[in-house]
Structures are given as structure tokens and as C-alpha cells.
């Protein structure tokens, strides 16, 4: 299959190009990881400084909505993994369909998240949006600030991912992305999506499951 891969400057063979692309993508995801790493460090330090209040604040989050959302994301990741497998096998329609499904699940995630935010607004727990806000103490306020920052940063990444996947699915369906010639595009978009999923896999216990 490798003969059918399109080559770009300055690469001289397909294997080299594939490895370079893969390495580049992984390094890029590494930088994203360090970006979120800063947020995680802040979360851990806050927890270390105020263990009891942190746990109390965490318990006010909607842990089951969060769990549902984790399930949704994991499932979407599964769909993307399948899509890549089919794209490699040049089954374009199936791949496109799965990408659309994944993006749809991404939208479900964002919808649930928005629903959760509205609940929190009514409970007076969401900083900036709840008026009047109703925090039991400063650390709860701090916790909810962190929660908002972390989840919205994640949501921004999700949104980018949804746009990426839908656009890609559309182009595949229209035949704009010859498969498997440009399967790297599908792989890399997939990697991004999985990565955003992994971030959530850590955010969920760090924020919702502190006991």
C-alpha cells in the first residue's frame, strides 16, 4: 500500500514521510500535554493546600453527568479509531460515517457540558455567570474558577476537534481526500481527537472525583 501514499518535499520515501509525520504529531501533542500540565499542576497544588475544602467543593459537581460525558468521549474515540482502520483499508464511506458519528458524540459531550454549566449557574456555583454567586467560602470559589478554566480550555479543544472531524468527513465523502493516499490526514486528526479524550480522562477524576 505504501506506493500509493502521496509524497511531499523534502521527503524521499513514504516510510520516512510517515514516521516524520507521526513523530511531528506526537511532539505537538506533547506540547499540548505540557500546556494542560500547567493546569493540572495548579489543580494538584490547590488540593494539597486545602484538602478538606477541595473535596467538599468537588462533591458539589455533577459527578454522574461527568461520568456520562466520559463514556460519550470514550465511545467517540472508539469511533475514530475504527474510522482510521477503515480509512487505511480505503473504505472511504465507512470512515467518513464513523468520523461524523464521532463528531456527533463530541457535540453530545459539549451539549451535556453546557447543560451542566446551566445547572451550576442556577446553583450559584459557576463563576462569572452565576448572579448572584453563592459560594460557601473562598476556596470553593477558587475551585470553581479552576473547574471553569480547565473545562472550558478542554471544551475549546473539543470544538476544534469537532470542526476538524466534520470537515475531514465531508472532504472524504466528496472524494477530496484520496484514501489511502492521504490517510495521514485521517490518522493525525484522529490522534488529536484521542488526545483531547485523554485530557478529559485526567480532568474527570482530578475535578469530579476528589474524595
Amino acid at each position: 500500500m505504501s506506493e500509493r501514499i502521496e509524497l511531499h518535499e523534502p521527503f524521499s520515501d513514504a516510510a520516512q514521510q510517515h514516521e516524520a509525520g507521526m513523530l511531528g504529531m506526537y511532539v505537538f501533542l506533547g506540547t499540548e500535554m505540557m500546556l494542560f500540565g500547567g493546569v493540572f499542576a495548579v489543580i494538584f497544588v490547590t488540593r494539597a493546600l486545602h484538602p478538606a475544602e477541595f473535596v467538599a467543593a468537588s462533591q458539589k459537581l455533577h459527578v454522574f453527568i461527568g461520568a456520562l460525558n466520559t463514556g460519550v468521549l470514550l465511545t467517540s474515540s472508539f469511533a475514530v479509531a475504527l474510522a482510521v482502520a477503515f480509512a487505511r483499508a480505503a473504505r472511504a464511506r465507512l470512515a467518513a460515517g464513523l468520523l461524523v458519528a464521532a463528531a456527533g458524540l463530541g457535540l453530545v459531550f459539549l451539549g451535556l457540558k453546557a447543560f451542566e454549566y446551566t445547572l451550576e449557574i442556577h446553583e450559584g456555583l459557576l463563576p462569572l455567570f452565576s448572579r448572584p454567586a453563592n459560594f460557601s467560602g473562598p476556596v470553593e470559589h477558587l475551585f470553581m474558577n479552576l473547574y471553569l478554566v480547565a473545562t472550558s480550555l478542554h471544551a475549546i479543544h473539543m470544538t476544534i476537534g469537532v470542526v476538524l472531524l466534520t470537515g475531514l468527513a465531508w472532504r472524504i465523502a466528496r472524494g477530496g481526500v484520496p484514501l489511502p493516499g492521504r490517510v495521514a490526514l485521517v490518522e493525525n486528526s484522529g490522534l488529536y481527537w484521542h488526545f483531547v479524550d485523554v485530557i478529559w480522562v485526567f480532568l474527570y477524576p482530578a475535578l469530579y472525583l476528589a474524595r
Binding site: 511531528g24 511532539v27 505537538f28 505540557m34 500547567g38 499542576a41 495548579v42 477558587l142
Partner: protein, 577 residues
């Protein structure tokens, strides 16, 4: 001898009036002439052209930052506040720091010389992701122009370190805007680092094993690791500061149970490794300059290469040495102090190995050698005084005094900026295809060295006497030393302008350089100067180690040896058995 060769390559060697004025054959097909429109420059994906774009813009920012330094030094001539207001002074040194660090020093060597040379040195046609490379320049310019805009809009007054809660709650400068500018330029760093890593891993010419990489490439590889791993943390930290300022996030605010020191941890987790982003490429340059000046294989290639990686790794473990008196735990301080000593070991290896490289070399006192020598001298002083600062009880006294200012200017200005100029003088013939008058290069190096020491040596004394930094109203008893320092700065300013005159001159009037004007080894010296658009007609096959200068055996000495070696070096350097 080599000069003559170069002269012969002129279009018409017999016409002595043709002092290199007309184009040579090589130049006609070079990357410089591949398209003359502005568009062909601004949309280029050729790593060499992007390097030139960076060279111009980075140097521009050096002078903007330098102008701010001139303002600072002028103000410090007198102990009272007469030139600038308190606020004006604070804005001046903040912008000096911000511009010099993020818009000059960090991109300086990697994005210009790294960009230009890495593909040439490893035998590739370009970087792995040429379009990303161009994007990186645009992002850099976006951040840079934004900073210039902030400068016009009134500036910031937090220091380049943006300590909270001053930056997040109390400052009345444009903190958010500068944070955005630095955030943006961070992505340029990240993209460059990513590109270098993938390029070095995947685009080496056949036979170019890791053990045959040039030390310059090793240094840039190590730098790229830091760029990629540290920069995102700065991005998120600045984003948090901006959010704190805009929405009262509270992470760094004790009133909500946050901790101001957490900012310092996040900031220095980036910024200490960042100082190695600033110095590692310079160390790589100097390794090249020393080997080239000695025309002898470097002493301890493996140790020098490995020490770059060691510096990159250990450099991540010492950030707490900026927080010894900040209220950090005493035990953490002790650990960070010890690790700071550890990071000196690989630096020491480099310095001593360079010295050993010169032993029994064939040293030509060219401008690059002068710059390399001043780098070594000033880096050693700067580095050793860094160790002074790593000593806990001493840092309690010296922290945030002019001693620190002197320490880092010795490394960053005396060190990296010297290396930057050294690289410019060494590779200028390759980049432009022309030779500049060497005597002027030597003079510039000497003036820079002298001006530099006059500027910054007095600051060590000031610092030990207790003069705090970021002070523009100071005790009159310090005035003498400050005046000396300002006097040095004016010499330095003029000395920095010198090279640009004769380098520009050489572009028109300099003799054509020929592929290997210094008579040294390395793949980049096997291609014409300036190199053609695609670097290599055919990807070279590497069969020998780097720096394979011929060694002398018993008996052949002096001139004879040199002449023999000169002939052997002709043309096929780097790819010989």
C-alpha cells in the same frame, strides 16, 4: 591562499576593477536570486530564505531592546529621577527584558543560523515541515508587532518576570496585551523546536549517523527539546495571569486561598530551562568556531555532544534557585541549590574541552576566533557567578541585586550575543557569498569585548555592595560605578553597530567567497556560497566523522603540514573517507 582561490572565481578574474561588483556564477543560481519579488520572499518555504527573514527581524528587535537599554543606562547616570519618571523607568526595563528575551535572544541563533544551517549540515534539502517553518516566522512577527504596539500604547511595568500579585492585580500597565504577545510568540518557538526535532531524526543524509552529527546540530537538538517541553507551560501560565487579571481567577491570590508563589514555580519551570534555550545554541556555535579556528578535530566530541543533552535535562530540575528567598521551603531550596551545581558540570566539560581542542591546533586569528574567545571568557565568568548565586547563604544577600544583573548579562550578552555575532561573521560568506574585511571583524570583536566588560563588571561590585536591581533612584554613593557602566554601554552600543556597516559593504564590494573561504570541514562548506535553492544537487552520502581534519604525525611540522592539508581539504570536506 584561499582568498586567492576565491578571487579567481570572480566572473572576470583579469579585470581588477571588478571588485566583486558583478554577480558570480554561483550567485546567479543561488537561493538569494531564486525569485526577486517581495512575494517570493514573504511566501518562501526555503529554510535559507526564512533564516534571512529571521535574521533581519531578530536583529531589528535587538536594536529596539538595545534602545530601551540605552534609555535605562542614560537614566542611571544620576542617582535622582531626572530623565524618566519612576513609572517610565519601570516600563523601560520591562520592555528591555521582554523584547531581549523573547523577541531577540530566544529566536536569535536557532531561528537564523539553526534554520539556515541544520539542513545543510545534515545533508537535507529543507526542514521536515517547510510550511510550518514559514508559519513560525509569521507568528513571531505577529507577536513582535503586537509588542511594538504595546510599547507605543504605553508599555508594562511588571518586569519581564510578571510576578503575581503585582501583575495580576496591582499593575496598571498593559499586562494582558504583553501576555498575549508572549503567548503568541511561544507558538513560534514550539513550531521551530518541533521542526528541528523531526528534521534531525528523520532527514539525515545517508551515513549521517548520530555520532557524525555536527556539535551545532546536537546543541540545537537539545535546545529543541527544551523549546517543546517548556514553552507550553509558559503559555498556560501567562494565560492564567491574563485570566486572573480579567476575571479575578484567584489561583495566585491569597484572598481566595491561592498562592502567589505558585506563579513563580510555573514561570521558572519555563524560564530557567529557557536560559538554556538562550545559551545552548551559542554553545553549539562556539564548538563550531573553536573547531574551525583550530582546524583540528574537536577534543572529546562525545562529551561535548552529550553535555548538551545533559544541560537540557538537568536544566529542568533547577528552577527553584530563583526562589531561595521567596518563601520556598528550606529543604526544596537545598535540593535546587545542589542541582544547580550539577548543571555546571556539563558546562565545564564544554569549556575545558574547547581549550583542549586548541592545543596543537592550527589557529588562525580570524574574527570568528576572536568572538569565540570572548564568548568563552565571558561565559565562564557569567557561569561561575551563577554558581555564586546558587550558594544559598550568598544568594540571600545577592538575590535581586545588580550582581544578578551582571551574572545574566555576562552569559546572555557577553556569551550568547557574542556567539550570535561570531556566527554571523563565520557563516556570512556562506549566506551572502561575499567576504568582508577581516581586520574590521577583529576590531569589532575587541571593541565589543572591552565595552562589555566596562558596562557589566562594575555591576558585580554594585551588587555585592547591595544595590538592588530595578532601582532608578539610588544611593549617591553608587554613582561612580553606574557612570562607568553607562560609559561602557555607549562603547558597546557603537561596537554593536560596527559589523552592520562592513557586512553591508561586503554584500556589494566584498570579494566572492567561494564554497570554503575559511578552509574548514563540514557539509555546508561543500556547496557553493551562497547555496543553491535546493542545497544539494544530489543528497550527499556521508562516510566519515565530523571535523576530520588531517592529523600530523611525527616529523611533518609547521608550514609543510599546513600546505599539504590545504590541498587535501579542497572541495570534498565532510564526505571523505
Amino acid at each position: 591562499m584561499t582568498m586567492d582561490n576565491a578571487l579567481e572565481r570572480r566572473p572576470n578574474p583579469d579585470d581588477l576593477n571588478d571588485r566583486g561588483l558583478s554577480e558570480t556564477q554561483d550567485e546567479r543560481v543561488s537561493y538569494l536570486r531564486a525569485g526577486h519579488t517581495l512575494r517570493s520572499w514573504l511566501l518562501t518555504t526555503d529554510h535559507k530564505r526564512i533564516a534571512i527573514l529571521y535574521l533581519i527581524s531578530v536583529t531589528l528587535f535587538f536594536f529596539i531592546g538595545g534602545a530601551a537599554a540605552a534609555l535605562v543606562r542614560a537614566d542611571l547616570l544620576t542617582p535622582q529621577a531626572d530623565l524618566l519618571t519612576n513609572e517610565g523607568y519601570n516600563r523601560a526595563f520591562t520592555l528591555h527584558g521582554v523584547i531581549m528575551v523573547w523577541f531577540f535572544l530566544i529566536p536569535s541563533i536557532p531561528n537564523t543560523f539553526g534554520n539556515f544551517l541544520i539542513p545543510l549540515m545534515i545533508g537535507a534539502r529543507d526542514l521536515a515541515f517547510p510550511r510550518l517553518n514559514l508559519l513560525s516566522w509569521y507568528i513571531y512577527m505577529l507577536g513582535g508587532l503586537f509588542t511594538v504596539f504595546v510599547l507605543i500604547a504605553g508599555g508594562v511595568d511588571t518586569g519581564w518576570t510578571f510576578y503575581t500579585p503585582l501583575s495580576s492585580m496591582f499593575s496598571n500597565g498593559h499586562v494582558v496585551m504583553v501576555a498575549v504577545a508572549v503567548f503568541v510568540v511561544g507558538f513560534s518557538s514550539i513550531l521551530t523546536g518541533l521542526n528541528f526535532i523531526v528534521t534531525v531524526h528523520k532527514l539525515r543524509a545517508p551515513g549521517m549517523s548520530w555520532g557524525r552529527l555536527r556539535l551545532f546540530v546536537w546543541a540545537h537538538y537539545a535546545t529543541s527539546l527544551i523549546l517543546v517541553l517548556a514553552t507550553p507551560v509558559l503559555s498556560v501560565t501567562l494565560a492564567l495571569v491574563a485570566a486572573e487579571r480579567l476575571f479575578g481567577l484567584g489561583i495566585f491570590d491569597p484572598k481566595l486561598g491561592g498562592d502567589p508563589l505558585l506563579f513563580q514555580h510555573l514561570f521558572w519551570f519555563y524560564s530557567h530551562p529557557a536560559v538554556y534555550i538562550m545559551v545552548l545554541p551559542a554553545l553549539g556555535v562556539v564548538s563550531e568556531l573553536v573547531a574551525a579556528s583550530a582546524r583540528k578535530p574537536v577534543f572529546g566530541y562525545r562529551f561535548i555532544a552529550g553535555s548538551s543533552i545533559a544541560i537540557a535535562i538537568i536544566g529542568f530540575l533547577v528552577w527553584g534557585h530563583h526562589m531561595f528567598v521567596a518563601g520556598q521551603s528550606m529543604y526544596a531550596s537545598a535540593v535546587f541549590s545542589f542541582l544547580s551545581l550539577a548543571v555546571a558540570v556539563p558546562s565545564g566539560i564544554k569549556v575545558y574541552n574547547w581549550t583542549a581542542t586548541l592545543y596543537k591546533g592550527h589557529i588562525e586569528l580570524d574574527p570568528p576566533f576572536f568572538f569565540a574567545a570572548s564568548f568563552i571568557g565571558l561565559f565562564v565568568v557569567g557561569g561561575l557567578t551563577g554558581l555564586v548565586l546558587a550558594m544559598l547563604a550568598v544568594d540571600v544577600h545577592l538575590h535581586d541585586t545588580y550582581f544578578v544583573v551582571a551574572h545574566f548579562h555576562y552569559i546572555m550578552v557577553g556569551g550568547t550575543v557574542s556567539a550570535y555575532f561570531g556566527a554571523l561573521h563565520f557563516w556570512w560568506p556562506k549566506m551572502s557569498g561575499r567576504i568582508y574585511p577581516r581586520i574590521w571583524g577583529r576590531l569589532a570583536a575587541i571593541f565589543i569585548f572591552l565595552g562589555f566588560n566596562l558596562t557589566f563588571f562594575p555591576q558585580f561590585i554594585l551588587g555585592y555592595l547591595g544595590m538592588p536591581r530595578r532601582y532608578h533612584v539610588y544611593d549617591p554613593s553608587f554613582q561612580v560605578l553606574h557612570v562607568l557602566s553607562s560609559a561602557g554601554a555607549s562603547i558597546l552600543g557603537v561596537a554593536y553597530l560596527m559589523p552592520f556597516t562592513y557586512l553591508f559593504w561586503s554584500m556589494r564590494y566584498g570579494a566572492p567567497a567561494g564554497p570554503n573561504p575559511w578552509d574548514v570541514r563540514g557539509l555546508e562548506w561543500t556547496v557553493p556560497s551562497p547555496p543553491p535553492k535546493h542545497n544539494f544537487e544530489e543528497i550527499p552520502v556521508v562516510t566519515g566523522p565530523p571535523y576530520d581534519y588531517p592529523l600530523e604525525r611525527e616529523g611533518d611540522q609547521g608550514e609543510a603540514g599546513d600546505a599539504a592539508e590545504g590541498n587535501a581539504a579542497e572541495g570534498n570536506a565532510g564526505s571523505r573517507a
